[in-house]
Amino acid sequence: MNSVIFLYYLGSTILTLTLGKLLNTPYPITHWLLLFLGVILGLVFRTTRVKAFFYGFITSFIIALIYTLMIYVQSPLMTQKFAKLLGIQPTGLILIIAILQGLLLGLASLTGAWLRKILYP
């Protein structure tokens, strides 16, 4: 794993999510920002498609996991109730959230990397 690329992934993802949170529009935008961010990251960095997916997945997974855990530790009520709503344990819900976020950025990065492969064979 190239740590420089990973740090770029990590930094740009944190910046993008911070931007989304600051804007706080009436429409949920960070979901879509992840798509654009992933495609751009996949396009910019010269890696294999598998690695692009991996960088995207691991970056988003880690950020989401830490963020969700932080909220859960400080104020667990909502996570507990939402987990009850889904019929699972809160820890299971936290893991699902992190995996989903990882998959989304990973998939977007893979798409970007594939596009790069076509544009710059």
Binding site: N24, P26, W32, Y67, M78, L100, W114, P121
Partner: protein
């Protein structure tokens, strides 16, 4: 090939993102809701309040203002003008309860289908067809004619909208995210709709169709025998007033023909069910001669549908010439039940007959004209538009007569009390200014102010109980009462006959009112406000005798009272109906023929208390229910494959019949050769009840009362994870502690008046916050379950030191 694969991947990726952004059926958009940066996690709330204020907040206020939050998250608002006060009340209420406000007003205005789809369309159509919007529009017109009302409504609306403008998707209450829609701007009409929704809840009951059906199928004499105009046992709210005899009211003459044959045919599968029986509210006040400190003590516990979030929101409002604390309705300004430095007040529902159905005779099948007073009048039309989610626009044409709208034009079975081709005449359609009553009550300083405030009140009529530091106690069964002939509206009325119309209203000064009675206490529990010596007709039925009588019985012997005396009375679990019925029922029970004999002995020793872990209340309730079903078998009408269940007589009538004549013909089961008596039926009902309880609970010992009753406090969107477990609490329908299956004491308050400042105590079974992710969502429920009250913090000014204040915002 690479390009093709990329295109496939591209569409797959975008497709996944798109798919996760869509609400599918009841499942919310998972990509949004599970997004930790904007989804449900954002509603995880820390312990301390964090009321976000917009940057230009101070510029929206006329003067300086402060909001203090106490440790129960109750806001205490201090403002220098009424406009600022109500602006901040709107803002803070929306901060905690925005979704609830939105949902209730959507339900009231028939707009639920906009957010939950076609499943709510029939319900929406019904709410429009009973004229909720018509009534709200008329109220807004009436309020706009009063400068004070307009000022209050405008400021309150601005406050709510100021909060909505601060919101982004991240801060939307969780229910908006789950249902997938956004908050919309608040309007004064929504406040009026909320008040009309309360009016429907409290005055929308009608016996017209039910009694007409009974008269049609079983005859006039059955109605006279089993549905009397005054019950066999009753202790009315107001003692007899000598003035009643001196009045010379112009009571309308009973028309020659009042017996419409208005069989509606057999209908079933209604969209709505009838409201739970035996619930209501209690309020009582004891005068200074009966209290420890020599000043009155007032108590109130309105029994409404219990929900998360609670119907109530506790608040203190302080402005020049006003300092009041109590509970408000989220979506309406002012305090509804509470106290200030001088007076305290509370309300229970009166439930007079202010809703009647008029049979409409159309000229022909075109339904364009209807008969009235020998002439044909044109029908007017109102076309209602429904924006149904995932379906589009649906139009509904409402036919309107001068009586009111025709609710059910096509036999659509909206509601069991609503007959086909009848126009609804409902007092809540009329222009009214109830808001002003609470505006002036909040500022009342004495009895005269209280009486003046009540003049603005129309519907739903309430028993306004009152106490002041001047040591006055009073009770007014207040509202607008139609001037009616006796039994007018007990059955459906003839829309063609002018004599069947309401003939005006009872003058305000003739509304039942009692001031400082000799016994020095007053109480109401939704029972008959007055006895038969009162010259006007209000209704033929009110709440049964039990709660009212029990409260009177206890107050008669209450001296040296303090706050705790009245708190304990609110928690009284004694079932007076069981005390009335059970000895006779057991007397006719042949123990040679029954199962589980030991439970007969247990019932004989029962103290009639509905304690949560007792089995006797479950057995008695199930046994009586089965007995009723067997006695009133004639009340099931069969026509072909269809069945019509007529309404049973009141339980007290059934037991009176048992006590009077156990071999009465009503006790005979029609379809058997045997001539049954009450004894036969009681044995049969007993064995059925035992089998039912054993089947449901495994054994009788496990059929404890709280499990049998099965009360849960349910979230307004019926989300189980946001609702409570079964409540381990005593009480029951027609018991002072009136906790039923879905409704109960929604706010318990006791106020001790004093020379300087009253001491108030209150509790409701939820919490201040509507956010399930907040610890203030249900933090008051355990206190309520234990029967305790919390002191109501009542600050004289914003600088008053208090250890309970945990946050302060200045503007």
């Amino acid at each position: 090939m690479k390009v093709l694969k990329f295109i496939l991947l591209f569409f797959f990726t975008v497709g996944i993102f798109y798919f996760l952004s869509q609400k599918i059926g009841k499942t919310p958009a998972l990509g949004y809701i599970l997004n930790p940066y904007e989804g449900f996690l954002q509603q995880s709330e820390l312990d301390r309040p964090d009321v976000s204020m917009p940057k230009n907040f101070s510029s929206q206020l006329k003067g300086k203002a402060e909001i203090l939050f106490d440790d129960l998250m109750v806001p205490h608002i201090f403002a220098q003008s009424d406009e600022d006060l109500y602006f901040l009340q709107g803002y803070v209420t929306a901060y905690f309860r925005l979704w609830q406000m939105d949902m209730i007003t959507r339900a009231a205005s028939g707009r639920l289908s906009e957010v939950i789809g076609e499943i709510a369309l029939k319900r929406d159509r019904f709410m429009r067809r009973i004229g909720m919007v018509i009534g709200a529009e008329n109220t807004i017109k009436a309020l706009s004619q009063d400068t004070i009302a307009q000022k209050v409504m405008t400021a309150y609306t601005k406050g709510i909208n100021a909060y909505i403008q601060t919101l982004g998707y991240q801060n939307f209450p969780i229910e908006f995210k789950l249902l997938g829609y956004s908050p919309e701007p608040w309007t004064p009409l929504k406040t009026a709709l909320l008040l009309k929704y309360m009016a429907w809840d409290l005055s929308g009951k009608s016996s017209d169709k039910e009694l007409s059906d009974i008269r049609y199928y079983l005859g006039e004499n059955v109605v006279k025998e089993l549905f009397p105009n005054y019950p066999p046992i009753m202790e009315p709210i107001h003692p007899q007033n000598p003035n009643w005899k001196t009045w010379k009211p112009e009571i309308p003459k009973i028309p020659d023909n009042t017996s419409l044959t208005s069989n509606q045919g057999i209908t079933q599968n209604f969209e709505f069910t009838k409201t739970e029986k035996g619930l209501g509210s209690n309020n009582f006040v004891v005068g200074g001669t009966r209290t420890q400190n020599g000043y009155p003590i007032l108590a109130n516990d309105p029994h409404l549908r219990l929900s998360f979030p609670s119907i109530w929101f506790q608040i203190q409002l302080h402005a020049p010439n006003m300092n009041v604390v109590g509970v408000s309705l989220p979506g309406a300004p002012n305090v509804i039940i509470g106290f200030n430095e001088h007076v305290a007040w509370g309300v229970t529902n009166v439930a007079p007959d202010v809703l009647d159905y008029y049979k409409i005779t159309f000229k022909d099948a075109s339904r364009k004209e209807y008969l009235y007073n020998g002439e044909y009048r044109p029908i007017t039309y109102r076309i209602d538009t429904f924006y149904v989610r995932s379906k589009g626009i649906v139009l509904d044409t409402l036919e309107i007569t001068h009586h009111g709208p025709i609710v059910d034009s096509k036999g659509e079975n909206f509601h069991p009390e609503c007959p086909k081709d009848h126009a609804i005449r409902w007092l809540a359609h009329d222009p009214s200014q109830e808001l002003l009553t609470f505006y002036y009550l909040n500022r009342a300083q004495n009895l005269q102010d209280y009486r003046n405030a009540l003049k603005y009140y129309s519907c739903p009529a309430q028993n306004f109980i009152f106490a002041s530091k001047n040591k006055d106690i009073a009770l007014t069964s207040n509202g607008k009462y139609p001037l009616k002939w006796k039994e007018q509206g007990k059955f459906t009325l003839d829309g063609a006959n002018p004599q069947h119309e309401w003939q005006g209203f009872i003058p305000f000064d003739h509304n039942p009112f009692t001031l400082n009675p000799p016994q020095d206490y007053l109480a109401s529990a939704n029972q008959f406000p007055v006895d038969t010596s009162y010259p006007y007709y209000l209704h033929w039925e009110f709440a049964s005798f039990e709660r009212g009588k029990r409260i009177h019985d206890r107050l008669k012997n209450l001296y040296n009272a303090n706050v705790d005396s009245l708190r304990l009375l609110q928690l009284d679990n004694k079932n007076l109906f069981a005390e009335f019925a059970l000895p006779s029922m057991l007397n006719y029970l042949d123990e040679q023929l029954i199962q589980e004999k030991k439970w007969k002995y247990n019932l004989e020793r029962w103290d009639y208390l509905h304690e949560p872990l007792a089995v006797e209340p479950s057995l008695f309730t199930e046994w009586f229910k089965r007995f009723e079903q067997l006695v009133w078998d004639e009340f099931i009408i069969l026509q072909g494959k269809d069945t019509l269940q007529l309404r049973y007589p009141e339980p007290v009538v059934t037991v009176s019949l048992l006590k009077k004549d156990a071999e009465n013909q009503w006790f005979d089961i029609k379809n058997t050769a045997l001539r049954e008596t009450a004894g036969h039926l009681l044995v049969l009902a007993w064995n059925q009840a035992i089998q039912e309880l054993q089947k449901s609970f495994g054994s009788l010992e496990r059929a404890v009362w709280y499990q049998y009753r099965g009360t849960r406090i349910v979230h307004l969107a019926l989300i189980p994870a946001f609702s409570s477990e079964v409540l381990k609490h005593g009480g029951g329908s027609d018991i002072v502690n009136a906790l039923g299956k879905t409704a109960g004491p929604s706010w318990r308050m006791v106020v001790q008046l004093e020379e300087k400042k009253p001491k108030g105590f209150g509790i409701y079974p939820a919490g201040q916050s509507g956010n399930p992710g907040s610890r203030y969502y249900d933090n008051l429920l355990p206190v309520w379950l234990n029967g305790n009250l919390k002191p109501i913090l009542f600050l004289e000014n914003s600088q008053e030191p208090s250890q309970n204040i945990i946050a302060k915002y200045s503007f």
